[in-house]
Subunit: 180 residues, 2 copies
Amino acid sequence: MLSEVSMTEAYKPWNYPERVVLAVSTDGEHHDIITLGWKMMTSHSPPIVAISVGKTRYSHKLISRGGEFVLAVPGEDLWRAVLICGTTSGRHIDKFKETGLTPRPAKIVKPPLIEECIANIECKVTGRLHTGDHTIFAGEAVCCWLSDNRRRNLLLIGRERGYLSLGKGGGFHYGVIKKR
Amino acid sequence: MLSEVSMTEAYKPWNYPERVVLAVSTDGEHHDIITLGWKMMTSHSPPIVAISVGKTRYSHKLISRGGEFVLAVPGEDLWRAVLICGTTSGRHIDKFKETGLTPRPAKIVKPPLIEECIANIECKVTGRLHTGDHTIFAGEAVCCWLSDNRRRNLLLIGRERGYLSLGKGGGFHYGVIKKR
Protein backbone atom coordinates (compact mmCIF):
# COMPACT_ATOMS: atom_id res chain seq x y z
CA MET A 1 0.00 0.00 0.00
CA LEU A 2 1.21 3.53 -0.78
CA SER A 3 0.98 6.27 1.85
CA GLU A 4 1.48 9.98 1.30
CA VAL A 5 4.61 11.19 3.11
CA SER A 6 6.90 14.24 3.27
CA MET A 7 9.92 14.50 0.99
CA THR A 8 12.14 14.02 4.05
CA GLU A 9 10.48 10.68 4.72
CA ALA A 10 10.52 9.67 1.06
CA TYR A 11 14.17 10.62 0.74
CA LYS A 12 15.77 8.21 3.17
CA PRO A 13 14.68 4.82 1.89
CA TRP A 14 15.50 5.45 -1.74
CA ASN A 15 18.50 7.73 -1.71
CA TYR A 16 21.08 5.21 -0.51
CA PRO A 17 23.59 3.93 -1.37
CA GLU A 18 24.92 7.13 -2.96
CA ARG A 19 28.45 7.29 -4.26
CA VAL A 20 30.37 10.30 -2.97
CA VAL A 21 32.51 12.56 -5.14
CA LEU A 22 34.72 15.56 -4.53
CA ALA A 23 34.71 18.67 -6.71
CA VAL A 24 37.87 20.74 -6.81
CA SER A 25 37.75 24.41 -7.82
CA THR A 26 40.14 27.34 -7.71
CA ASP A 27 40.38 31.12 -7.99
CA GLY A 28 43.89 30.69 -9.32
CA GLU A 29 45.43 31.14 -5.91
CA HIS A 30 43.27 29.25 -3.44
CA HIS A 31 41.76 25.83 -4.12
CA ASP A 32 38.61 24.45 -2.58
CA ILE A 33 37.30 20.90 -2.30
CA ILE A 34 33.62 20.15 -1.72
CA THR A 35 32.02 16.78 -0.96
CA LEU A 36 29.01 16.00 -3.13
CA GLY A 37 26.44 13.23 -3.15
CA TRP A 38 24.30 14.96 -5.77
CA LYS A 39 25.93 14.28 -9.11
CA MET A 40 25.12 12.37 -12.29
CA MET A 41 26.28 11.69 -15.80
CA THR A 42 24.16 13.68 -18.22
CA SER A 43 25.53 13.06 -21.72
CA HIS A 44 27.42 10.33 -23.53
CA SER A 45 28.56 12.37 -26.53
CA PRO A 46 30.18 14.63 -25.59
CA PRO A 47 30.73 13.18 -22.11
CA ILE A 48 29.17 15.60 -19.62
CA VAL A 49 28.68 15.28 -15.88
CA ALA A 50 26.34 17.36 -13.72
CA ILE A 51 26.82 18.38 -10.10
CA SER A 52 24.52 20.21 -7.68
CA VAL A 53 26.30 22.76 -5.51
CA GLY A 54 24.64 24.71 -2.70
CA LYS A 55 24.39 28.41 -3.53
CA THR A 56 25.95 29.52 -0.24
CA ARG A 57 29.03 27.32 -0.66
CA TYR A 58 32.48 28.77 -1.32
CA SER A 59 32.91 26.20 -4.12
CA HIS A 60 29.78 27.64 -5.76
CA LYS A 61 31.52 30.99 -6.06
CA LEU A 62 34.75 29.49 -7.40
CA ILE A 63 33.05 27.26 -9.98
CA SER A 64 30.69 30.07 -11.05
CA ARG A 65 33.61 32.41 -11.66
CA GLY A 66 36.20 29.96 -12.96
CA GLY A 67 33.89 27.85 -15.11
CA GLU A 68 35.92 24.73 -14.36
CA PHE A 69 36.07 21.93 -11.82
CA VAL A 70 37.72 18.58 -11.29
CA LEU A 71 35.43 15.74 -10.28
CA ALA A 72 37.49 13.41 -8.10
CA VAL A 73 36.28 10.01 -6.94
CA PRO A 74 37.42 8.95 -3.46
CA GLY A 75 37.90 5.38 -2.31
CA GLU A 76 37.25 3.82 1.06
CA ASP A 77 40.62 5.01 2.44
CA LEU A 78 39.61 8.68 2.15
CA TRP A 79 36.46 8.82 4.25
CA ARG A 80 37.99 11.13 6.87
CA ALA A 81 39.16 13.59 4.22
CA VAL A 82 35.73 13.45 2.59
CA LEU A 83 34.07 14.17 5.93
CA ILE A 84 36.31 17.22 6.45
CA CYS A 85 35.62 18.52 2.92
CA GLY A 86 31.89 18.10 3.48
CA THR A 87 31.64 19.77 6.88
CA THR A 88 34.04 22.72 6.73
CA SER A 89 34.28 25.80 4.50
CA GLY A 90 37.11 26.65 2.14
CA ARG A 91 36.55 30.29 3.06
CA HIS A 92 38.28 29.59 6.34
CA ILE A 93 40.63 26.67 5.80
CA ASP A 94 42.90 25.23 3.12
CA LYS A 95 41.27 21.87 2.51
CA PHE A 96 44.30 20.27 0.87
CA LYS A 97 46.37 21.19 3.92
CA GLU A 98 43.65 20.19 6.38
CA THR A 99 43.03 16.78 4.80
CA GLY A 100 46.54 15.93 3.69
CA LEU A 101 45.28 15.31 0.16
CA THR A 102 47.83 16.02 -2.58
CA PRO A 103 47.03 18.50 -5.36
CA ARG A 104 48.51 17.61 -8.72
CA PRO A 105 48.40 19.87 -11.80
CA ALA A 106 45.61 18.99 -14.23
CA LYS A 107 46.33 18.83 -17.95
CA ILE A 108 43.67 21.21 -19.27
CA VAL A 109 41.81 22.96 -16.43
CA LYS A 110 43.12 25.19 -13.66
CA PRO A 111 41.81 23.32 -10.58
CA PRO A 112 44.18 20.52 -9.53
CA LEU A 113 43.57 16.78 -9.54
CA ILE A 114 43.63 14.87 -6.24
CA GLU A 115 46.48 12.37 -6.36
CA GLU A 116 44.89 9.93 -3.86
CA CYS A 117 41.54 9.53 -5.68
CA ILE A 118 40.40 6.53 -7.76
CA ALA A 119 39.49 8.72 -10.73
CA ASN A 120 39.78 12.40 -11.66
CA ILE A 121 37.74 14.04 -14.38
CA GLU A 122 38.69 17.50 -15.65
CA CYS A 123 35.50 19.42 -16.47
CA LYS A 124 34.67 22.65 -18.29
CA VAL A 125 31.27 24.13 -17.42
CA THR A 126 28.96 24.08 -20.45
CA GLY A 127 25.71 25.03 -18.75
CA ARG A 128 24.16 25.96 -15.41
CA LEU A 129 20.64 25.74 -14.04
CA HIS A 130 19.40 27.29 -10.81
CA THR A 131 17.27 24.89 -8.81
CA GLY A 132 15.96 26.11 -5.45
CA ASP A 133 18.90 26.32 -3.06
CA HIS A 134 21.44 24.75 -5.42
CA THR A 135 22.86 25.30 -8.90
CA ILE A 136 23.40 22.48 -11.37
CA PHE A 137 26.72 22.86 -13.17
CA ALA A 138 27.04 20.70 -16.30
CA GLY A 139 30.69 20.06 -17.05
CA GLU A 140 32.17 18.50 -20.16
CA ALA A 141 34.82 15.91 -19.35
CA VAL A 142 37.88 17.16 -21.23
CA CYS A 143 40.46 14.86 -19.67
CA CYS A 144 40.16 11.77 -17.43
CA TRP A 145 42.58 10.07 -15.04
CA LEU A 146 42.52 6.68 -13.33
CA SER A 147 44.59 5.47 -10.40
CA ASP A 148 46.34 2.11 -10.58
CA ASN A 149 45.48 1.66 -6.90
CA ARG A 150 41.91 0.32 -7.07
CA ARG A 151 39.80 0.60 -3.94
CA ARG A 152 36.13 0.30 -3.18
CA ASN A 153 34.01 3.37 -3.94
CA LEU A 154 33.15 5.43 -0.89
CA LEU A 155 29.39 5.55 -0.34
CA LEU A 156 26.82 7.38 1.70
CA ILE A 157 24.89 4.50 3.23
CA GLY A 158 21.41 4.19 4.66
CA ARG A 159 19.56 1.54 6.55
CA GLU A 160 20.12 -1.46 4.31
CA ARG A 161 22.34 -4.27 5.51
CA GLY A 162 25.43 -5.42 3.63
CA TYR A 163 27.49 -2.26 4.01
CA LEU A 164 30.54 -1.75 6.20
CA SER A 165 30.21 1.44 8.25
CA LEU A 166 33.39 3.54 8.20
CA GLY A 167 32.29 6.59 10.15
CA LYS A 168 29.71 9.32 10.67
CA GLY A 169 29.74 13.08 10.89
CA GLY A 170 27.66 16.12 10.03
CA GLY A 171 24.60 13.95 9.49
CA PHE A 172 26.40 11.76 6.96
CA HIS A 173 27.12 8.06 7.26
CA TYR A 174 30.06 6.83 5.20
CA GLY A 175 30.59 3.21 4.26
CA VAL A 176 31.53 0.69 1.60
CA ILE A 177 30.17 -2.54 0.26
CA LYS A 178 31.27 -5.53 2.36
CA LYS A 179 33.71 -7.83 0.62
CA ARG A 180 32.81 -11.47 0.50
CA MET B 1 49.88 6.59 -9.95
CA LEU B 2 47.36 8.36 -12.19
CA SER B 3 47.12 7.49 -15.89
CA GLU B 4 45.24 9.44 -18.55
CA VAL B 5 42.30 7.38 -19.87
CA SER B 6 39.17 7.81 -22.00
CA MET B 7 35.86 8.75 -20.38
CA THR B 8 34.62 5.22 -21.17
CA GLU B 9 37.44 3.75 -19.12
CA ALA B 10 37.05 6.30 -16.33
CA TYR B 11 33.31 5.70 -16.19
CA LYS B 12 33.20 2.05 -15.18
CA PRO B 13 35.13 1.96 -11.94
CA TRP B 14 33.43 4.93 -10.34
CA ASN B 15 29.90 4.88 -11.65
CA TYR B 16 28.67 1.85 -9.71
CA PRO B 17 26.66 1.10 -7.71
CA GLU B 18 24.00 3.37 -9.23
CA ARG B 19 20.45 3.26 -7.95
CA VAL B 20 17.89 2.86 -10.71
CA VAL B 21 14.70 4.89 -10.98
CA LEU B 22 11.74 4.94 -13.33
CA ALA B 23 10.22 8.13 -14.71
CA VAL B 24 6.57 8.03 -15.74
CA SER B 25 5.18 10.54 -18.22
CA THR B 26 1.99 10.93 -20.21
CA ASP B 27 0.37 12.75 -23.11
CA GLY B 28 -2.97 12.41 -21.35
CA GLU B 29 -3.85 9.27 -23.23
CA HIS B 30 -0.69 7.16 -23.42
CA HIS B 31 1.74 6.74 -20.55
CA ASP B 32 5.43 5.97 -20.88
CA ILE B 33 7.96 4.61 -18.38
CA ILE B 34 11.69 5.09 -18.82
CA THR B 35 14.50 3.54 -16.78
CA LEU B 36 17.10 6.04 -15.59
CA GLY B 37 20.41 5.70 -13.82
CA TRP B 38 21.23 9.38 -14.26
CA LYS B 39 19.30 11.26 -11.59
CA MET B 40 20.09 13.29 -8.48
CA MET B 41 18.56 15.46 -5.81
CA THR B 42 19.30 19.10 -6.58
CA SER B 43 17.56 21.20 -3.91
CA HIS B 44 16.45 20.77 -0.30
CA SER B 45 14.07 23.74 -0.17
CA PRO B 46 11.98 23.43 -2.19
CA PRO B 47 12.70 19.72 -2.76
CA ILE B 48 13.75 19.32 -6.38
CA VAL B 49 15.08 16.27 -8.22
CA ALA B 50 16.91 16.27 -11.55
CA ILE B 51 16.84 13.59 -14.24
CA SER B 52 18.78 13.24 -17.50
CA VAL B 53 16.69 11.98 -20.40
CA GLY B 54 18.08 11.15 -23.85
CA LYS B 55 16.83 13.58 -26.49
CA THR B 56 15.68 10.83 -28.84
CA ARG B 57 13.55 9.10 -26.20
CA TYR B 58 9.76 9.06 -26.32
CA SER B 59 9.72 10.05 -22.65
CA HIS B 60 11.74 13.15 -23.57
CA LYS B 61 8.90 14.26 -25.81
CA LEU B 62 6.21 13.56 -23.20
CA ILE B 63 8.06 15.27 -20.34
CA SER B 64 8.98 18.26 -22.55
CA ARG B 65 5.36 18.76 -23.55
CA GLY B 66 3.60 17.80 -20.33
CA GLY B 67 6.03 19.45 -17.90
CA GLU B 68 5.41 16.71 -15.35
CA PHE B 69 6.79 13.31 -14.39
CA VAL B 70 6.58 10.80 -11.58
CA LEU B 71 9.87 9.51 -10.25
CA ALA B 72 9.25 5.93 -9.10
CA VAL B 73 11.80 3.89 -7.17
CA PRO B 74 11.83 0.15 -7.93
CA GLY B 75 12.91 -2.55 -5.50
CA GLU B 76 14.71 -5.80 -6.17
CA ASP B 77 11.50 -7.57 -7.23
CA LEU B 78 11.06 -5.34 -10.28
CA TRP B 79 14.31 -5.88 -12.16
CA ARG B 80 12.62 -7.56 -15.13
CA ALA B 81 10.15 -4.69 -15.51
CA VAL B 82 13.00 -2.20 -15.20
CA LEU B 83 14.93 -4.02 -17.91
CA ILE B 84 11.92 -3.87 -20.25
CA CYS B 85 11.38 -0.16 -19.56
CA GLY B 86 15.05 0.54 -20.28
CA THR B 87 15.38 -1.42 -23.50
CA THR B 88 12.11 -0.82 -25.38
CA SER B 89 10.35 2.30 -26.66
CA GLY B 90 6.98 3.62 -25.53
CA ARG B 91 6.39 4.70 -29.12
CA HIS B 92 5.73 1.07 -29.94
CA ILE B 93 4.50 -0.62 -26.78
CA ASP B 94 2.39 0.12 -23.73
CA LYS B 95 4.94 -0.31 -20.96
CA PHE B 96 2.41 -0.77 -18.18
CA LYS B 97 0.82 -3.58 -20.15
CA GLU B 98 4.15 -5.07 -21.18
CA THR B 99 5.60 -5.10 -17.67
CA GLY B 100 2.48 -5.81 -15.66
CA LEU B 101 3.14 -2.74 -13.51
CA THR B 102 0.01 -1.09 -12.12
CA PRO B 103 -0.71 2.60 -12.83
CA ARG B 104 -2.42 4.42 -10.00
CA PRO B 105 -3.73 8.00 -10.23
CA ALA B 106 -1.37 10.59 -8.76
CA LYS B 107 -2.71 13.32 -6.49
CA ILE B 108 -1.38 16.43 -8.27
CA VAL B 109 0.26 15.53 -11.60
CA LYS B 110 -1.16 13.79 -14.67
CA PRO B 111 1.30 10.88 -15.03
CA PRO B 112 0.34 7.92 -12.82
CA LEU B 113 2.21 6.47 -9.86
CA ILE B 114 3.50 2.90 -10.06
CA GLU B 115 1.77 0.85 -7.37
CA GLU B 116 4.59 -1.71 -7.02
CA CYS B 117 7.41 0.78 -6.40
CA ILE B 118 9.11 1.53 -3.04
CA ALA B 119 8.56 5.27 -3.44
CA ASN B 120 6.81 7.59 -5.90
CA ILE B 121 7.56 11.30 -6.19
CA GLU B 122 5.20 13.54 -8.16
CA CYS B 123 7.27 16.21 -9.94
CA LYS B 124 6.51 19.44 -11.77
CA VAL B 125 9.26 20.60 -14.13
CA THR B 126 10.79 23.87 -12.93
CA GLY B 127 13.76 24.06 -15.28
CA ARG B 128 15.53 22.30 -18.11
CA LEU B 129 19.08 22.34 -19.39
CA HIS B 130 20.31 20.82 -22.65
CA THR B 131 23.52 18.85 -22.18
CA GLY B 132 24.96 17.12 -25.24
CA ASP B 133 22.68 14.20 -26.10
CA HIS B 134 20.43 14.52 -23.03
CA THR B 135 18.25 17.13 -21.35
CA ILE B 136 18.26 17.68 -17.60
CA PHE B 137 14.73 18.15 -16.28
CA ALA B 138 14.57 19.64 -12.78
CA GLY B 139 11.30 18.67 -11.13
CA GLU B 140 9.88 20.00 -7.88
CA ALA B 141 8.54 17.24 -5.66
CA VAL B 142 4.94 18.26 -5.06
CA CYS B 143 3.70 15.02 -3.49
CA CYS B 144 5.51 11.90 -2.22
CA TRP B 145 4.39 8.33 -1.61
CA LEU B 146 6.00 5.43 0.24
CA SER B 147 5.13 1.75 0.08
CA ASP B 148 4.68 -0.22 3.29
CA ASN B 149 6.38 -3.14 1.53
CA ARG B 150 10.07 -2.33 1.98
CA ARG B 151 12.52 -4.03 -0.33
CA ARG B 152 16.14 -3.50 -1.24
CA ASN B 153 16.83 -0.73 -3.76
CA LEU B 154 17.49 -2.01 -7.27
CA LEU B 155 20.99 -1.08 -8.42
CA LEU B 156 23.10 -1.03 -11.54
CA ILE B 157 26.20 -2.88 -10.38
CA GLY B 158 29.78 -2.98 -11.58
CA ARG B 159 32.79 -5.07 -10.78
CA GLU B 160 32.88 -4.76 -7.03
CA ARG B 161 32.09 -7.80 -4.90
CA GLY B 162 29.30 -7.87 -2.35
CA TYR B 163 26.37 -7.47 -4.72
CA LEU B 164 23.85 -10.12 -5.71
CA SER B 165 23.43 -10.26 -9.49
CA LEU B 166 19.77 -10.40 -10.55
CA GLY B 167 20.09 -10.25 -14.31
CA LYS B 168 21.59 -8.55 -17.34
CA GLY B 169 20.29 -7.05 -20.55
CA GLY B 170 20.94 -4.24 -23.01
CA GLY B 171 24.38 -3.68 -21.54
CA PHE B 172 23.00 -3.24 -18.04
CA HIS B 173 23.70 -5.41 -15.02
CA TYR B 174 21.05 -5.29 -12.30
CA GLY B 175 21.64 -6.33 -8.73
CA VAL B 176 21.14 -5.60 -5.05
CA ILE B 177 23.28 -5.48 -1.95
CA LYS B 178 23.74 -8.93 -0.40
CA LYS B 179 21.97 -9.40 2.89
CA ARG B 180 23.99 -10.66 5.80
